[in-house]
C-alpha cells in the first residue's frame, strides 16, 4: 500500500517556488528521513502533507485517496496523521492534558482517554510528569511530551520535524529509541526531517535529499550514504556543497 503518492507538486511563497516535486511515492510502515540544507523546503513538505498548507498545483494521494477535497474529508484524513513541530507548542495546562488533547477532540470516553494517555506517557518515560505544567519542561522533556501527544492518537503516519535539533546527545538517543520502538510495535509510518546525518543512518529505511524544493535523490539509507548516485548528494554528504 502506498502511504503518499505525490505528483507535480508545487508550492510558492510569493514568486518563489519553495517546493517542486515531480514524482514521489512513499510506502506504508517505513521510516523515511528527509535531508537537505536549511530553507530547502523540508518543513514546507511536511506541512503540505499534513494539510496545513494547500499546494499551488499537483496532487497528493494518501492511502490511495485524493486528499483535501471537502472540509469533512480533510478532517478525517488529517486525523490519520500527526505532525510534531520543530518547536513544539505546549498548551498551557498539565502534561496529562496536553497528551489528552487530541483524544478529547475525538470525543474519546474518559476512562479510555486516561488509559491511553498514561500508556503514551509511559512510552516516552514521562509518567511522573503527568501533573506537571507542560510549559515548564526542558527541551528534551518537551519533545517527549510532543511525541506522546502524537503517538497517543495512533496515527498512520508520524511527521516529525527535526525532533532532536538542539538536544543533548542523551536526549537524542532517548527520542530515537522511542521512535524506533513505536515504529516496531505499531508498524506506523514515519517521515522524519533531520539535519543529523547519523540519525538518518541510524533509524531510516530510506533517505530523501531535498534541495531547493526538489527531490535530488531517494534511496535505501545504506545506498544513499555509501553509493550516492547524484553529484549533489555527494557534495551534500561531504559538506562541500555550494549553496
Amino acid at each position: 500500500m502506498n502511504l503518499f503518492e505525490i505528483s507535480g507538486l508545487k508550492k510558492n511563497f510569493g514568486d518563489r517556488t519553495v517546493l517542486n516535486i515531480n514524482e514521489l511515492t512513499l510506502q506504508t510502515s517505513k521510516i523515511y528521513a528527509v535531508l537537505g540544507p536549511n530553507g530547502s523546503g523540508k518543513t514546507t513538505l511536511l506541512r503540505v502533507l499534513n494539510l496545513l498548507l494547500a499546494p499551488d498545483s499537483g496532487w497528493i494521494k494518501f492511502m490511495g485517496g485524493d486528499i483535501g477535497i471537502s472540509q469533512a474529508d480533510r478532517l478525517s484524513v488529517s486525523r490519520q496523521m500527526c505532525m510534531v513541530f520543530q518547536r513544539p507548542f505546549m498548551f498551557r495546562s498539565t502534561v496529562f492534558n496536553n497528551v489528552a488533547y487530541g483524544l478529547k477532540l475525538r470525543r474519546v470516553a474518559k476512562p479510555e482517554c486516561e488509559r491511553r494517555v498514561n500508556e503514551a506517557l509511559d512510552f516516552v518515560d514521562m509518567v511522573d510528569f503527568a501533573k506537571h505544567s507542560a510549559t515548564r519542561l526542558s527541551g528534551g522533556e518537551t519533545q517527549r511530551v510532543a511525541l506522546a501527544r502524537a503517538l497517543v492518537l495512533q496515527p498512520r503516519v508520524l511527521l516529525l520535524d527535526e525532533p532532536t535539533a538542539n538536544l543533548d546527545p542523551g536526549s537524542v538517543q532517548h527520542i530515537e529509541e522511542i521512535i524506533r520502538k513505536y515504529h516496531q510495535e505499531y508498524n506506523t509510518s514515519v517521515i522524519i526531517v533531520t539535519h543529523n546525518l547519523f540519525q538518518a543512518k541510524r533509524i531510516a529505511d530510506e533517505s530523501i535529499l531535498l534541495i531547493n524544493g526538489e527531490v535530488v535523490e531517494r534511496a535505501y539509507t545504506a545506498e544513499f550514504f555509501d553509493h550516492p548516485r547524484e553529484l549533489r548528494t555527494r557534495q551534500f554528504l561531504d559538506g562541500t556543497m555550494v549553496y
Binding site: C82, F85, F89, S93, T94, L105
Partner: protein
C-alpha cells in the same frame, strides 16, 4: 450619646450603600463590556481583513478615551433634548453603566485581540495537526489566550471602578441614588472632609485589591484544569 451612635451607624450604612453602588455599576459595565469585547477582540485577532490595522488603531486610541469625554457623549445622548432623551435615563445608574461601558469595551477588545494574535498561527497549526476542526482550533486559541482575556477584564474593571469623570457627569452624585465611591471622594474633598475622603479612597483601593486577587487565584486554578 444615643444620637451619636445612631448617626455613626447611619453613616456606616451609607458608606455600605455607596460601596454597593460602585461595585454594581462598575461590575455591570465590565460584564457588559466583556460580552461585547471578548467576541469582538477574538474576531479581530483571528481574522484577516482590509482595514484591520486601522480598526486596531482606533481601538487602541479608544482604550485611552478620557472618562469625561465618554461621560459627555452619553450625557448628550441621554439629555432631555438628546436622541435617547425620551428614555429618561440621565442621572440613573443605567446611564453610569452605559458611560463606563464606553470606557471599558475598547480596553477588553484591545487586550483580547492582542493576546489572541500573539501566538495564533502557532496554536492553530498545532491544534489542526492534532486533529482539531477549525471551530475546535479557534476555541483552543481563545482558551490559550485566557491570560490576555483575564487581564483585559481586570484592567477594564479597574478603570471603571476608579474613574470619576463619566459617572459624575451622567450620574450626578445623587445621594442614595447614583453616589459611588469616587464621586463621594470628590464631594468630601470639596467640603473639606479630607479624612473621610482618604477613608473612602482606602476602601476603594482595598476593594480593587480584593477583586483582582479573587480573579487571579481563580485564573491560576483554571489554567491547570
Amino acid at each position: 450619646m444615643e444620637a451619636a451612635v445612631s448617626s455613626l451607624f447611619a453613616q456606616k450604612m451609607e458608606i455600605l450603600e455607596i460601596v454597593k453602588m460602585s461595585l454594581q455599576v462598575s461590575g455591570s459595565a465590565t460584564l457588559l463590556s466583556a460580552l461585547i469585547g471578548i467576541p469582538l477582540g477574538a474576531w479581530i485577532g483571528l481574522s484577516e481583513f482590509k482595514g484591520k490595522r486601522l480598526l486596531l488603531r482606533l481601538v487602541y486610541t479608544l482604550m485611552a478615551l478620557p472618562p469625561v469625554l465618554a461621560g459627555l457623549l452619553v450625557y448628550l445622548l441621554l439629555s432631555r433634548s438628546g436622541p435617547l432623551g425620551f428614555m429618561e435615563l440621565l442621572f440613573t445608574p443605567t446611564a453610569m453603566i452605559i458611560a463606563q461601558c464606553l470606557l471599558v469595551t475598547p480596553i477588553i477588545t484591545g487586550l483580547v485581540s492582542a493576546g489572541i494574535a500573539a501566538k495564533e498561527g502557532l496554536i492553530f497549526e498545532h491544534a489542526i495537526s492534532l486533529g482539531a476542526s477549525k471551530t475546535q482550533a479557534t476555541w483552543t486559541i481563545i482558551k490559550e489566550a485566557r491570560t490576555g482575556i483575564i487581564a483585559g477584564i481586570m484592567t477594564g474593571f479597574g478603570r471603571a471602578f476608579a474613574e470619576v469623570g463619566a459617572v459624575m457627569l451622567v450620574g450626578g452624585n445623587i445621594r442614595h441614588m447614583t453616589r459611588v465611591l469616587t464621586t463621594s471622594i470628590v464631594m468630601e474633598t470639596r467640603q473639606g472632609n479630607f479624612e473621610m475622603g482618604i477613608a473612602l479612597g482606602i476602601i476603594l483601593l482595598l476593594l480593587s485589591f480584593m477583586v483582582s486577587s479573587i480573579v487571579l487565584s481563580n485564573a491560576e486554578e483554571f489554567s491547570l484544569k
